[in-house]
């Protein structure tokens, strides 16, 4: 039990009372070093689960435990919040346009570690270097960064909390394929170097196949299939999973290489 970082038991999520649940019947455990994929189409409830995992949406039934505690009992400044951090799909929309990359990350250290501005800045420089950003670039505002650089800032901001789980919601969907490769490599490196657990929300099965060990397939707010990623993709049990796999463009390409 003690090594379970996130424990989701029969959780159901609604955005308003009386509204149909956006996701229900969710069961998931995340332990250190795990890599879990959540796949499905728009509106299937992927992001809702992500919000439930980081505690920004409380379950309307069932429970989500973070290090054994319900999110509801975790106050805004409780250090347990640091356990799970989120990386967003659109780094441009999720970064403060008025803050430089360095200031964005330094703010986390000032707020959480209550250190002086100088210490916060030097720690921020370290984290940014860890995601491959250094030099003059880190003093730029988001508008002057490339898409890949912005996503690195988003990842650095999450890492600044020293999380044990990274919930990445479509982290590469807005990026070109060569830039995506860089970000995926970075996530792979962080998984190894920090022993991070990763929850990857993505509609791209090739990315999920590449990065994760287990996966949930979502349809209309429900899990239709859950299991080892490779088994799931090779021998899909549910019709919907088969449809998803059959819709991936360029399968001829994949087998050729």
């Amino acid at each position: 039990m003690s090594d379970v970082l996130l424990d989701v038991v029969d959780a159901e999520f609604r955005y308003a009372r009386g509204m149909a649940p956006a996701a229900s019947g969710i069961n998931l455990q995340v332990r250190p070093g795990d890599a879990v994929g959540i796949v499905g189409e728009s509106g299937s409830g992927k992001t809702t689960i992500g919000r439930g995992l980081v505690g920004s949406l409380l379950p309307s039934a069932g429970s989500v435990l973070v290090q054994g505690r319900r999110w509801k009992s975790v106050s805004r400044r409780d250090p347990v919040r640091r356990t799970v951090q989120m990386v967003f799909q659109d780094p441009y929309a999720s970064l403060n346009p008025m803050l430089s990359a360095l200031a964005t990350v330094a703010e986390v250290f000032r707020v959480w570690d209550k250190v002086s501005a100088d210490v916060a800045t030097s720690r921020a420089e370290q984290v940014l270097a860890e995601v491959g950003l250094s030099g003059e670039v880190i003093r730029r505002r988001p508008a002057l960064l490339s898409g890949g650089q912005r996503q690195r800032v988003g990842i650095a901001r999450a890492l600044a909390c020293s999380p044990q789980v990274l919930v990445a919601d479509e982290p590469t969907s807005a990026l070109d394929v060569s830039v995506q490769a860089n970000v995926l490599n970075l996530l792979l490196d962080l998984k190894a170097s920090r022993g991070l657990a990763l929850v990857l929300i993505s509609h791209d099965l090739s990315v999920v196949d590449y990065l994760t060990d287990r996966a949930l397939v979502m349809l209309n707010g429900e899990v239709v299939e859950q299991g080892e990623t490779q088994t799931l993709l090779k021998n899909p049990g549910h019709e919907y999973t088969k449809t998803l796999i059959g819709s991936i463009p360029g399968t001829s390409l994949t087998t050729a290489s």
Partner: protein, 326 residues
């Protein structure tokens, strides 16, 4: 019959005096499907704009080369001339077309407007229904009464394609038509394009950054980098044995090409930016195979014996080189 529908030769474009496209060459046979691939900023959408005569609106102009459509030059057309081509000869499905529909007009009203403008001799209502049938929308009469916000993303994209077909174009340009859509919807839209090709005999120029989509639907592919075409050839050949280092790098960066937890091949550096193109080959600063001449001399498109062409100094056997006829 494999007659040529479109040929772009050595096209150069400037926006406000800044060169943004140069030496763009490609061709498309009647009823063919050409995939135009490349990353953000490589010049794909600008090539579309040039083909629609929409450059003046962004202060751009053609400064070199030619665009020939069905044997007729489009390069020197004036605005009335373009008005006869746009929508009627060449249809256009713009990028972010989900936002391109008028939110306060029903689908039917928008279709009737397009039909009565582009095809005034037919019954607009009947033709609207026919167009929605062409893009395989179910319950077409119902859809006509709907406003855009009442439709799903995939349905709206079908409506956009129907609008582009109103003038019975012989060439359809589709700029990232499936990028914002779910994979299952994307597959359905790509099937619509394949059907249209058969039922209308039109040619399709499909702009995409997704190499998988190109592999599935295109006969030929043009790969763009830094405002120019770097490789052109049969899609199956280019995808299976890329002959330009950039194409090879793009293909290698796909997660599907690697085993789990194995690092992906990346392209070092950042993409070439218009106005800051490097001397010589634009890909040379990022190319693993760059030699001295690559940094000084811009390579021209040369055609090999198998009909493929590429712009690269590293051709295996120089004796095979012959001037390109793309």
């Amino acid at each position: 019959m494999n007659t040529e529908l479109l040929r772009i030769n050595g096209l150069g474009v400037e926006i406000a005096g800044l060169p943004v496209l140069s030496e763009v060459s490609l061709s498309l046979p009647t009823n063919g499907v050409l995939g135009l691939v490349g990353e953000t900023g490589s010049g794909k959408s600008l090539t579309c704009r040039a083909l629609m005569g929409l450059l003046p609106r962004i202060n751009g102009k053609v400064v070199a080369g030619s665009i020939t459509f069905d044997g007729v030059s489009l390069t020197d057309l004036d605005e009335p001339g373009w008005a006869r081509v746009r929508g009627r000869e060449i249809g256009f499905v713009p990028q972010a077309s989900l936002n391109a529909l008028d939110p306060v007009m029903t689908v039917g009203a928008q279709l009737r407007e397009a039909v009565s403008h582009l095809d005034p001799d037919v019954d607009a209502k009947a033709r609207s229904l026919e167009l929605l049938d062409l893009v395989r929308l179910p319950q077409v009469r119902e859809v006509l009464r709907r406003y855009p916000h009442e439709l799903s993303g995939g349905m709206r994209q079908r409506v956009m394609i129907a609008l582009a077909l109103a003038g019975r174009p012989r060439l359809l340009l589709a700029d990232e038509p499936t990028t914002a859509l779910d994979v299952t919807v994307q597959k359905a839209i790509l099937e619509v394009f394949a059907d249209l090709r058969t039922s209308t005999g039109m040619g399709l120029l499909l702009v995409t950054h997704d190499l998988g989509v190109v592999a599935d639907v295109a006969d030929t592919v043009a790969v763009m980098y830094g405002g120019t075409v770097v490789e052109f050839g049969r899609a199956a050949d280019v995808m299976s044995t890329p002959s330009h280092p950039y194409t090879a790098a793009l293909l290698g960066a796909r997660p599907a090409t690697r085993g789990r937890n194995e690092r992906l091949t990346t392209i070092p550096g950042v993409p070439a930016v218009p106005g800051q193109w490097p001397a010589g080959c634009r890909f040379s600063p990022r190319c693993a195979f760059a030699r001295d001449e690559c940094h000084h001399v811009q390579p021209t498109m040369l055609q090999a014996a198998d009909g493929r062409s590429r712009a690269c100094h590293g051709w295996p056997d120089p004796s095979e080189e012959a001037p390109a006829h793309v």
